[in-house]
């Protein structure tokens, strides 16, 4: 956080310097930068954990970690990647770009914004501290239940569970604060003439995300609080012995957990079409259709949760309902895929790094989506459930669909944020390394799942050896390739070819009318939109 990205353009912006600038800032760009930096750091923390796992799974037998520690790594990896890497990255972009895109000087609630960010580092510490404490003999390590906290295992667990519960509370508060800020900003601070249906698609994606967060985070907070009282205060919400039901927790958790998938993806679906229209040099196709698809997906996302635990047992009508409603998600998604490809169709395309990531993203996210359609089938799900097939599926949606989308956004907006062009050649190398090693990591996992390897096991039968070996080697290539990502970002911040205001030949939208980097306070005169 030592680099100031906007230092040379502070015309009439006075602010503290050094560490105080970052602690006290209410500026949307500074806060956005902090979110993005935090996200990048946590991306590596979560990545290091999973490389530990992949190293252990390189061959059958236990070599490096014991099963207790293995179970801690998988759950904390997921929580960090979801809550501390992917979500803050999307919020960081929202902070940076939403005011620029809608012609506002800043976010509507700047102090809330600052608070929202500064809740994140403590929660990251809460999540990882039990690892350190265990080294000093305090407690038995971090959450070892997987990221889903399923009781009774989580009631049985050690202090790591309590730490994770409080971390989730803080992360939840942070997300809700960020969401409120975005909703208020979008409803009140759009430039004159920018009606809701003229709002950039990224802002639309975030608006739906923000509403989903406000609707579902309290359910998660409630569920983990009930878990906390089950653990320490003798309640029996999830204990059959006292009239409770462990499966009720699954319902509550996934009522949050499924919308969460779209919370992570909607912002990406928002800016991907903006990248497509930029590099296709023609306006995006089907803006309205995409906005309506966002609505449809937002609505469907809160009524399909039980497809995450078909094997937990539920009445036949419920199984059928959740199966068919899940399949219905393919309708709005198909509309969006159609619009993306139609935007490219008969454009005048060029393939700079952001466009490469976007095209790769469409293909890989397509695989994630289609395997999701297959997973919706209850009968076949009995086989896929909790096998490596599911692991591969959700990494296609969340690594390819989430993180690779974020990377597209980073390369797309980095010149605007820093005022410098990144190294195009290295950007492309980064893309190809990421795309190839990602597929080599996760395609084998589809086959492992079909062959019958359950997820979350520290050691496995000999028949699974070859695919695990390929997956582990590729995972290390994937992890190490991300060092190049950091190198690209750092060199771009430090210097490089000056970026023009418009940066990209086909760029469209208000953010490209400002200088690169934009002044500390974005629009001193409010722009109008026709």
């Amino acid at each position: 956080m030592s680099t100031t990205t906007v230092a040379h353009h502070d015309d009439h912006a006075e602010h503290p310097t050094g560490i105080m600038r970052w602690l006290t800032t209410t500026n949307h760009k500074d806060i956005g930068t902090m979110y993005l930096t935090f996200s990048l750091i946590m991306f590596f923390v979560g990545g290091a954990m999973i490389l530990g796992i992949r190293a252990e799974l390189f061959q059958p037998g236990l070599q490096l970690v014991n099963p207790e520690f293995f179970n801690q790594l998988i759950g904390v990896h997921a929580l960090i990647m979801i809550f501390a890497a992917l979500m803050p990255a999307a919020t960081g972009f929202a902070n940076w770009m939403i005011p620029l895109q809608i012609g506002a000087p800043d976010m509507a609630l700047p102090r809330l914004n600052n608070w929202g960010f500064w809740l994140l580092p403590p929660s990251a510490i809460l999540l990882t501290l039990p690892f350190t404490l265990a080294m000093f003999g305090i407690g038995d390590g971090a959450l070892a239940t997987g990221w889903t906290f399923y009781p009774p295992l989580s009631v049985q667990g050690g202090i790591g569970v309590d730490f994770a519960i409080f971390a989730v509370h803080l992360l939840g508060v942070s997300s809700v604060l960020g969401s409120i800020n975005i909703i208020v900003t979008l409803f009140n601070m759009r430039a004159p003439g920018m009606t809701l249906m003229k709002m950039p698609l990224f802002a639309w994606g975030w608006l739906i995300t923000a509403f989903l967060l406000v609707a579902t985070i309290p359910v998660l907070a409630g569920a983990v609080t009930m878990l906390l009282t089950d653990r320490h205060f003798g309640t029996h919400f999830f204990d059959a012995a006292g009239g409770g039901d462990p499966v009720m927790f699954q319902h509550l958790f996934w009522f949050f957990g499924h919308p969460e998938v779209y919370i992570l993806l909607l912002p990406v679906w928002g800016f991907i079409p903006q990248i497509l229209e930029t590099f296709s040099r023609k306006p995006m196709y089907g803006y309205k259709a995409q906005v309506y698809s966002f609505w449809a997906i937002g609505a469907l996302s809160v009524v399909v949760w039980a497809h995450h635990f078909f094997t937990s047992g539920m009445p036949v009508p419920a199984l059928l309902y959740f199966m068919y409603s899940t399949m219905a998600i393919s309708l709005p998604l198909a509309v969006m895929f159609f619009c993306w490809i139609k935007t490219m169709w008969k454009g005048s395309m060029s393939f700079e790094t952001p466009m490469l990531f976007t095209v790769g993203w469409i293909i890989l996210f397509g695989i994630g989506g289609l395997t999701g359609l297959v997973l919706a089938d209850v009968a076949a799900d009995a086989q896929y459930h909790n096998s490596y097939f599911v692991v591969a599926h959700f990494h296609y949606t969340l690594f390819a669909g989430g993180i690779m989308g974020i990377m597209a956004g980073v390369y797309f907006w980095l010149p605007k944020m820093t005022g410098h062009m990144y190294n195009e050649k290295l950007g492309k190398v980064h893309f190809w390394l990421t795309a190839i090693s990602f597929n080599l990591t996760f395609i084998p996992q589809f086959f492992l799942g079909l062959a019958g390897m359950p997820r979350r096991i520290p050691d496995y039968a000999l028949q699974f050896a070859e695919f695990n070996m390929i997956s582990s080697v590729a995972a290390f290539v994937l992890g190490l390739s991300q060092l190049l990502f950091v190198y690209n970002i750092v060199t771009c911040i430090k210097g490089g070819k000056k970026a023009t205001n418009k940066v990209w030949e086909g760029a469209q939208g208000l953010e490209w009318t400002l200088p690169s980097p934009p002044p500390y306070h974005s629009f001193t005169e409010q722009p109008t939109v026709k």
């Binding site: 179970n71 009774p152 296709s280 490219m344 005048s348 359609l373 459930h385 190809w432």
Partner: protein, 390 residues
């Protein structure tokens, strides 16, 4: 585009190198139940549909990527707004196709599969109760000749092979072998009742196509009908703690006559064991018997040496409970005494009442008190355990 060629080359090179491993599985393992067969058909059909969609869309996109590029001087052609009639037509047709794929081509077979999967009772000829606990399965036959047969099934891969850092040769069925197989007759529809004693588990044999969560305090059900004799292996599929990867499921499907013979043999074996509970055992006999019970059931947490893994799993060597008195002055076992702890468990420690018989409990307690660095010197007789259960 050069990049895509590179990716596809890399992918096909990878696929070619793996398919050289002849016995490698690319799909579900061979199905042996009607449910698994149905699942395989549904899976193949769905995969085919989604792959066709994927490659058609991909082909259109790749064509566009090659044809509509700036480097080829292709000038962008703006999308013209269609007439309302055309717009409605072009919206409804793809929607109709998708609805057809989702809810007819995929939806109808999926419906029948669900109905078949959930019908656990029709034509079921026997009932087996499966109980998951950390980290073993317990099987109980609920009706017919086999009624009353009840046993625990533990991982039997030698412990040194699963230890950290083991470099030697591993068994062929590494992590997939147990001491007592579940035995089922071929061709009979077996209703499976599922429950758990501590946390959730999931009893899963890939070749059976059924999997159902075992929830403590509730009964869930599923069914299997194995149509081909053989030994089938699977694993627990719900994260259940540190031993999650070490509780395999092994089922022998045998012809009816063989099954009947097995039932008779198993009943005799159980009668012998319960007769053993009434005789007076010597300390050495109990310690020798208890060593086996301990290493199979207790060592995973308390360790072979009795040193435990504090703070989660306390040491037994020198432990207050394992060296303190078992019975109070009134002749009843003490609360929080050694026998109470083994029978009923506490927090993470499971109760063993339902899992071990009287002899096994007496033996393991005697072993813990007179080995593992302890030397209390007393003996707990199976008859005392039997009385304590009343």
């Amino acid at each position: 585009m050069r990049g895509f060629t590179k990716v596809s080359l890399a992918l096909s090179a990878m696929l070619a190198s793996i398919s050289a491993q002849a016995d490698y599985a690319w799909n579900f393992p061979e199905p042996v139940t009607p449910m698994a067969l149905d699942t395989l058909h549904v899976h193949n059909k769905f995969m085919l549909i989604t792959m066709v969609i994927f490659f058609v869309v991909l082909a259109i996109m790749i064509y566009s990527i090659f044809a509509h590029r700036k480097s080829k001087n292709f000038k962008a052609v703006a999308d013209k707004a269609p007439s309302t009639a055309m717009e409605i037509f072009w919206t409804l047709v793809p929607f109709a196709i998708l609805l057809l794929i989702d809810f007819v081509i995929m939806g109808i077979p999926a419906y029948h599969s669900v109905i078949m999967m959930e019908d656990t009772r029709d034509k079921a000829t026997m009932v087996v109760k499966v109980t998951g606990s950390q980290w073993r399965w317990q099987y109980e036959y609920m009706d017919g000749d086999a009624k009353g047969i009840k046993f625990v099934s533990n991982l039997s891969t030698p412990k040194e092979q699963t230890d950290k850092g083991y470099q030697g040769k591993k068994d062929e069925q590494y992590l997939l072998e147990v001491d007592n197989h579940l035995v089922l007759p071929v061709g009979e529809k077996v209703r499976i009742l599922m429950t758990a004693t501590d946390v959730m588990h999931n009893w899963w044999v890939p070749q059976f196509g059924s999997s159902r969560l075992a929830v403590p305090g509730f009964l869930r059900e599923t069914w299997v009908q194995v149509d081909k004799a053989g030994t089938y292996r699977g694993q627990c599929k719900e994260l259940c703690g540190k031993g999650h990867g070490y509780m395999p499921v092994v089922v022998d499907a045998v012809p009816m006559e063989e099954y009947k013979a097995w039932v008779v043999a198993k009943k005799e074996e159980m009668a012998k064991a319960s007769a053993g509970a009434d005789k007076e055992w010597t300390k050495d006999e109990l310690v020798a018997e208890g060593k086996g019970v301990y290493e199979k059931n207790c060592a995973v947490c308390h360790q072979i040496t009795g040193a435990g893994l504090p703070p989660a799993f306390p040491a037994l060597t020198g432990s207050k409970i394992a060296t303190g008195p078992i019975f109070g002055a009134d002749g009843k076992y003490l609360k929080d005494g050694h026998l109470d702890r083994v029978l009923n468990g506490i927090r993470v420690m499971p109760g063993w009442k339902a899992l071990l018989n009287d002899t096994e409990i007496a033996a393991v307690i005697t072993y813990e008190r007179n080995a593992l660095g302890n030397s209390v010197g007393d003996v707990l007789q199976p008859a005392q355990v039997k009385a304590a259960r009343q």
